[in-house]
């Protein structure tokens, strides 16, 4: 698969823009998933995941073909997500949520310091609850937990994506797990 992707990348570098659509097809699901779990909002995750593909396209000449393209792409996407989380204004997508088709978006907008009343959390459906609990994690733990348990990536690859030592990744995963455990209480 990597060989095919590299072939497409070379075609794009030669000026064949259409070859990029195969690259997008191959990674769009994974990338969108990461962004969604990081941001918890469909509109924003779509925007950020698309932005990640556009940035990758623009900077494609800097990509080292000997490395894994997905690692590089994940790095662009997670950086964009973290930037977005840090910049996020509480009322950024207020209109979008009201018109939203499901309740997921609503909870994700509440900043992580304000936890909802316990009875309300208990009433959530499982999927809603999962997204809510992930969104409650500080962003440095959220990133590693999403990459590890949603994307199921090996620790070594997470360390390359986030450009941090393996030890740091492990520490963050340990703390992230403990933080989640405390949030969940006795499930």
């Amino acid at each position: 698969m990597d060989a095919l992707i590299n072939k497409r990348i070379k075609q794009v570098l030669k000026g064949d823009q259409n070859a990029y659509s195969d690259v997008v097809s191959h990674y769009q699901q994974k990338l969108y998933q990461v962004c969604y779990r990081m941001l918890g909002n469909k509109h924003e995750s779509e925007d950020i995941a698309q932005e990640a593909f556009v940035r990758a396209y623009i900077n494609l000449h800097t990509f080292d073909l000997n490395r894994k393209f997905s690692t590089w792409l994940y790095r662009i996407a997670t950086n964009l997500c973290i930037d977005r989380i840090r910049k996020k204004k509480p009322d950024y997508y207020l209109d979008a949520q009201v018109a939203g088709t499901d309740g997921l978006d609503m909870y994700s907008q509440i900043s992580s310091s304000d936890r909802l009343p316990e009875e309300e959390v208990q009433r959530m459906e499982l999927q809603e609850r999962i997204q809510y609990e992930i969104s409650q994690l500080p962003d440095k733990y959220r990133t590693v937990i999403v990459l590890k348990y949603i994307e199921e990536l090996p620790l070594q690859e997470i360390s390359e994506i986030l450009d941090m030592p393996l030890g740091t990744v492990k520490t963050r995963i340990h703390r992230g797990r403990e933080a989640l455990r405390k949030q969940l209480g006795n499930l």
């Binding site: 000026g15 823009q17 990029y20 659509s21 997008v24 097809s25 769009q28 699901q29 969108y32 998933q33 969604y36 779990r37 469909k42 779509e46 995941a49 698309q50 932005e51 593909f53 556009v54 396209y57 623009i58 000449h61 499982l126 999927q127 999962i130 997204q131 609990e133 992930i134 937990i145 348990y149 949603i150 620790l155 492990k170 995963i173 340990h174 797990r177 403990e178 989640l180 455990r181 969940l184 006795n186 499930l187």
Partner: protein, 206 residues
């Protein structure tokens, strides 16, 4: 949990990461058998992971790829040129060098508005005009900048006039006479001089 060895918590995470050593694992298992608190802690961690992992796949919107393709920057030729330049930095460097060099030479031409003349005995200067009086002989080269030269006597050497005129009636000049008025000639003169200096320098060293 407070009374438990501190490393037990670390072992739990090592275990969950799947990189626990055999000794640590044995120690952890033995401890979990005897300690209810730690056993519960471990169980909670396990169910936490199971909980996160039960997240459903969120499918990507149908028009996602199309939207990405629409957002891609157009104008590949521009990108091509940029990439070519990036791969061949020597051309950029050479172009920059030429621009800077010509700029400095041309400003040199425009800035030198002041009148100047090579110091030689028995030269007469009247305003912006240098006169070699009749009956006199000047030995050596004369360079006049932004002024004219009138030769009535004799000159044993070269005469160079920059931005000025050479006038002579019955002149007796043994060397070359150069008049330089255009920027291009000025450039040529500079280059020639540079060449000559290098040559004379080489000659001296021989």
């Amino acid at each position: 949990m407070n009374a438990c060895p501190k490393q037990i918590g670390e072992y739990m995470h090592e275990y969950l990461d799947g990189d626990i050593s055999r000794e640590h694992e044995t120690e952890l298992k033995a401890h979990l058998q005897s300690c209810d608190d730690c056993r519960q802690h471990m169980q909670e961690l396990n169910s936490t992971i199971a909980f996160v992992k039960s997240a459903a796949v969120v499918s990507v919107p149908l028009d996602f790829k199309q939207n990405v393709m629409v957002r891609l920057p157009k104008g590949k030729s521009g990108i091509g040129v940029q990439r070519w330049l990036r791969r061949h930095p020597i051309f950029v460097a050479a172009a920059m060098f030429c621009i800077l060099m010509s700029a400095s030479l041309l400003t040199g031409f425009n800035d030198d508005k002041e009148f100047s003349v090579t110091k030689q005995p028995n030269l007469v200067v009247e305003g912006q005009t240098v006169i070699v009086p009749a009956g006199e002989t000047v030995t050596g080269d004369i360079v006049v900048k932004n002024g004219d030269i009138v030769v009535e006597g004799a000159v044993d050497g070269n005469i160079t006039v920059i931005n000025g005129q050479y006038m002579a009636s019955t002149a007796n000049v043994t060397g070359q006479i150069d008049e330089i008025n255009q920027a291009f000639e000025w450039l040529w003169y500079k280059i020639k001089n540079g060449g000559k200096e290098i040559l004379s320098f080489l000659d001296k060293n021989k």
